[in-house]
């Protein structure tokens, strides 16, 4: 099981705790898993079969660049966050 | 009165030791004259109202903001810009010191600082830190915090 931390607003919409458990061998499947458990959750994270541009997935402290095809071998936690730029 | 009633003025001036005859609109600044007429773009425009010093040039031994001088006022004057600092023998000691001390980051204010600092060292070969800061007060730099610029001027004066 992987601990998943969803954005506050997503948690609020689906009325979820800070952490939820999920599984999947890659990010796409993990999100599908969540969508089955919480129907409609997928559209909060995915658009046109891609992570929503303003969302980034941080996997054990590292932001993935691969998006939905990111493999998830022995991963313990995933955070979905707004992506941020700098000056 | 419309634009075309105002005629360009022919002036004779000396820029970095080179005498030249140029035609300028009577209402344009020396800064614009240097950049657009003479084609020397080393002198920069930062504010066009005398508050940043990026356009500093030396006229007959005095530094001025070239945005606050008319091009026509260059008649009969000796003007030195950053392009005139290095010689066939190499860089001016200030230019060398700026490089060695990393006294520039983006570099847009650098020509103005160099021309100002040269005038200081021409008048006062061994200025104190406070004197350097006072003399350079008319030149804005947004990148360096002035620290390395002051050090470079000191180094060039040693």
């Amino acid at each position: 099981m992987i601990k998943v931390f969803l954005p506050y607003k997503t948690r609020k919409i689906f009325n979820l705790p800070v952490e939820v458990d999920a599984e999947g061998n890659n990010l796409r499947n993990l999100i599908e898993f969540l969508d089955k458990k919480y129907p409609g959750l997928k559209q909060e994270l995915v658009d046109e079969d891609k992570l929503i541009p303003t969302i980034s997935a941080v996997i054990d402290g590292r932001t993935t660049k691969l998006g939905l095809i990111q493999k998830l071998d022995n991963v313990s936690e995933i955070h979905f966050l707004p992506s941020i730029a700098g000056g | 009165m419309t634009q075309n009633n105002v005629r360009k003025v022919a002036i004779n001036t000396n820029i970095n030791g080179q005498e030249m005859d140029i035609l300028v609109d009577p209402y344009v600044s020396l800064l614009e004259t240097l950049r657009e007429v003479v084609g020397m773009t080393g002198t920069k425009e930062g504010c066009n109202d005398g508050n940043c010093g990026a356009c500093t040039v030396n006229i007959d031994g005095r530094i001025v903001d070239s945005c606050l001088v008319l091009g026509v006022e260059a008649e009969g004057k000796n003007i030195e810009t950053v392009e005139g600092m290095a010689t066939p023998e190499g860089l001016h000691p200030l230019q060398q010191a700026f490089l060695e001390e990393a006294a520039l980051q983006c570099g847009i204010c650098t020509p103005g600082f160099l021309v100002s600092a040269k005038a200081l060292l021409d008048n006062e070969p061994k200025p104190s830190e406070d004197r350097i800061r006072h003399w350079l007060a008319g030149n804005l730099c947004r990148c360096t915090g002035y620290d390395k610029i002051v050090k470079a001027v000191k180094k060039a004066s040693d």
Binding site: T54, K65, A85, G86 | C106, I108
Partner: protein
């Protein structure tokens, strides 16, 4: 690919060579955006709105277009209408529609200085005179110029058509573009258990990046619908992306040639003039150049958000932090994006707090659309947090550094947004601060001069983004190396990138010749921003250098008819493991090599790296009769990971600190009720001058980043975060009272002194 090499092993890294582009910059030869002159080039000028908030009813160009010397007139009708589609690139967020409307207003102007039309003419003065003859019929609306006005019930709405996102709820008719929330742990419990709770609200006025070079743009629209742009930008590819979106062209039809850039600090990421120059060029069939005036730069180019921040922290009796709460309200300007996520990420970033709750509002106001400014969002929140921390220490009577060390964030600490830190160096920075000569020295609080003196300390943080970079290398016949890259060089990055290649190749920094090339000549490279350039483009240079060595080994093996694993490459010398006779320098090899040019090409797309933390110490002196404040000593400490070129790292720290000092003491957008910036000149905006500052001492702490082979961390942005709270804390130390709104100017200080 993390190298095991220790500091002592480095031959190039950590030295201070003269930057490769330095000679051009001290001789006036370097070409900046406004320096380029193309054959047959004409000049443009724009008409800007005199109103901060108005509907455009009618634009009459009939007189202007007939004027002598005028080539073309342009309005927003000449731009394609774009959708609300959000742009993917995290560097320039927001919708395509807003991107376009910020370049030129369609139906509504949202800030004073908003562009409504443009003209090309034979010279600048003719263009500026002609622009005045354009007649615009406005329906003037009431502006909102700060977060309180904008969020008030019944406030004038900037975007009637815009839908705000409030915790996922779609909300119409609001000036709050986004309301977001972040929570970890149980804050209610944390505050309930707290022995002491301190809450402070700070207010910040809008400030500007203040780069000395005004924005500029030069363009040719070719007959085959290819657009060539020359400009001063922090990102030629980001610029190409924005220009192509605004003009609705494929990116392949736009070529951006980055010229030298006279400062940016984040403010030269957005596009302003380039698409206008392109359209005017198409209409005039000539190259067109536009340059902003200084007033235009203040009125209409991205400032840093002002706003209000509330921070509340609860601690137990030993000073251990139990809970933190923050309410962040920042001004986006006319279009969304006030960097509230970054602000949320930074607000508690220096501390290990078990429970945190952050509410953040991205608020639309009638000011220029805000742009990144060195660690966007972080200085604003650092002001609040570091004020609270200072107050807690005084209440608990704890040492200002010991308290920070007790609560310091370290590797494994969970951050406010959730993920845990990787290896970071704040602890080492604070320990160095404690040992520093400045902190050890004691400050004569009441000198004979009658002045009041105070000392302040504050910490700050900025993460550093990764993103995409590409580097090409090619070996010259003389054994030197050409390096081409796409990162525009604002402060010495050519050198810091070339040095990383030189280190790998074992040659002198001077032997690697870097040049920044146009968007047709290198792989996609993201902006020089987010403290990423030396980190990410440097990483690409590191990879490319290793690939070049493989090329060299491969070809050398062929020359000597050996297998590759029999070849040793070390410090620019190629030799054989087996036959000591076989040995050639890079130069000899390059000269001999019959197997074709030796080139390599590498790219990276890096994740965000563990960021940089800094702590600043300031001593200042206040004239109790006038309120005048002078900084008399200043020390910057920062974890820089690994300083590739220490002189330019120090320069970043000194420059960032100085901008922060200006932000703290004098700089502000002084606005009229009608939304006009009244001090839109250098004279009245009052940036620090040489005489306002002491030498800025720097102490580089090196805790190598795990994410880069040489341990590089971004260093450019962190140094602007601590100055405002450090100075505010020092003022409190001097006069015994806090001023929690910027700028902390003389009149406010004198008022405090009189009221005490």
């Amino acid at each position: 690919m993390v190298s095991k090499s220790k500091k002592s092993d480095y031959k190039v890294i950590g030295t201070r060579p003269i930057r490769h582009d330095g000679y051009d910059k001290v001789t006036g030869r370097a070409q900046y955006g406004a320096d380029i002159k193309l054959p047959g080039m004409i000049y443009g000028a724009v008409l800007r709105s005199p109103h901060a908030h108005a509907k455009i009813k009618k634009i009459d160009i009939s007189v202007a277009e007939k004027m002598k010397g005028v080539f073309a007139v342009m309005t927003a009708k000449d731009l394609p209408r774009l959708s609300d589609k959000q742009r993917g690139n995290s560097e320039e967020s927001g919708s395509e529609k807003h991107l376009s409307e910020n370049v030129m207003a369609m139906d509504k102007v949202l800030y004073k200085g908003h562009v409504v039309a443009a003209i090309s003419a034979k010279d600048v003065n003719t263009a500026r005179e002609a622009v005045k003859k354009i007649v615009v019929d406005y329906e003037v609306l009431k502006p909102v110029i700060n977060v309180d006005q904008a969020m008030k019930k019944g406030a004038p709405i900037l975007h009637e058509d815009f839908v705000g996102d409030h915790l996922g709820k779609k909300v119409k008719n609001t000036n709050v573009a986004t309301f977001n929330k972040y929570t970890t742990g149980n804050t209610d419990e944390g505050f309930r258990k707290a022995h002491l709770i301190i809450e402070k609200e700070v207010e910040l006025q809008t400030v500007h990046q203040g780069y000395i070079e005004p924005h500029n743009g030069t363009a040719i629209w070719d007959e085959d619908d290819r657009v060539k742009i020359w400009t001063s930008t922090q990102g030629s590819f980001a610029n190409r992306d924005s220009v192509s979106k605004v003009l609705n062209l494929d990116v392949s039809r736009v070529k951006v040639t980055p010229l030298e850039i006279g400062g940016g600090f984040g403010g030269k990421i957005p596009v302003y003039l380039e698409p206008i120059a392109a359209v005017l060029s198409k209409k005039s069939r000539r190259p067109v150049q536009l340059v902003m005036s200084r007033t235009d730069v203040f009125d209409a180019s991205g400032p840093a958000p002002g706003g209000k921040v509330i921070v509340k922290i609860g601690v137990d009796k030993d000073g251990k932090m139990l809970a933190g709460y923050a309410d962040i309200r920042l001004e986006a300007g006319g279009y969304p994006e006030a960097f509230i996520e970054a602000a949320a990420k930074c607000v508690f970033s220096c501390y290990d707090i078990p429970a945190m709750e952050i509410e953040a509002y991205d608020v639309l106001v009638n000011k220029p659309s805000s742009a990144p400014y060195r660690a966007p969002g972080s200085p604003q929140v650092a002001f609040a947090t570091e004020t609270v921390v200072d107050e807690i220490c005084r209440k608990l009577n704890m040492d200002l550094i010991d308290f920070r060390l007790l609560n310091v964030a370290e590797k494994g600490t969970r951050t406010a947004l959730g993920p845990k830190y990787r290896k970071i160096g704040l602890k080492q920075v604070l320990e160095a601060a404690k040992k520093s000569d400045h902190w050890q020295s004691n400050l004569e609080k009441n000198p004979k001069s009658g002045k009041l003196r105070g000392r302040g300390i504050a910490s700050g943080y900025w993460f550093n983004i990764g993103e995409k970079s590409a580097v090409n290398l090619s070996l010259n016949m003389d054994g030197t190396v050409i390096l081409t890259e796409g990162s525009t060089d604002i402060g010495g990055s050519r050198a810091s990138i070339a040095m990383q290649a030189a280190e790998v190749l074992g040659v002198k920094a001077e032997s690697v010749r870097p040049s920044v090339v146009d968007t047709d000549s290198i792989g996609h490279t993201d902006v020089t921003g987010g403290s990423r350039t030396t980190y990410a483009t440097g990483y690409a240079a590191y990879k490319a250098a290793h690939m070049l060595i493989d090329e060299i080994t491969n070809k050398a093996a062929k020359i000597w008819d050996l297998s590759e694993d029999e070849i040793i490459y070390s410090d620019g010398v190629i030799s054989s493991k087996t036959d000591s006779e076989l040995r050639m320098t890079l130069r000899e090899f390059a000269d001999k090599n019959p197997f074709g040019p030796v080139v390599s090409s590498a790219s990276v797309d890096l994740e965000e790296a563990a960021g940089g933390f800094g702590t600043h110490i300031v001593d200042l002196e206040i004239d109790p009769e006038t309120g005048k404040t002078d900084v008399i000593r200043y020390t910057v400490l920062q974890d820089v990971g690994k300083a590739i070129h220490p002189a330019y790292v120090e320069g970043q720290l000194q420059g960032g600190a100085t901008q922060g000092i200006g932000w703290a003491l004098n700089e502000e957008y002084f606005m009229s009720d009608q939304g006009t910036m009244l001090n839109s000149s250098y004279l009245d905006y009052r940036m620090p001058i040489a005489l306002d500052l002491p030498m800025i001492e720097t102490i580089l702490v090196e805790v190598p980043s795990e994410d880069h082979p040489f341990g590089v961390r971004g260093v450019g942005e962190t140094p602007i975060c601590p100055p405002v709270p450090a100075i505010s804390n020092a003022v409190n130390d001097a006069i015994g009272s806090r001023i929690l709104s910027t700028p902390i100017k003389a009149s406010k200080i004198l008022n405090k002194l009189k009221s005490m």
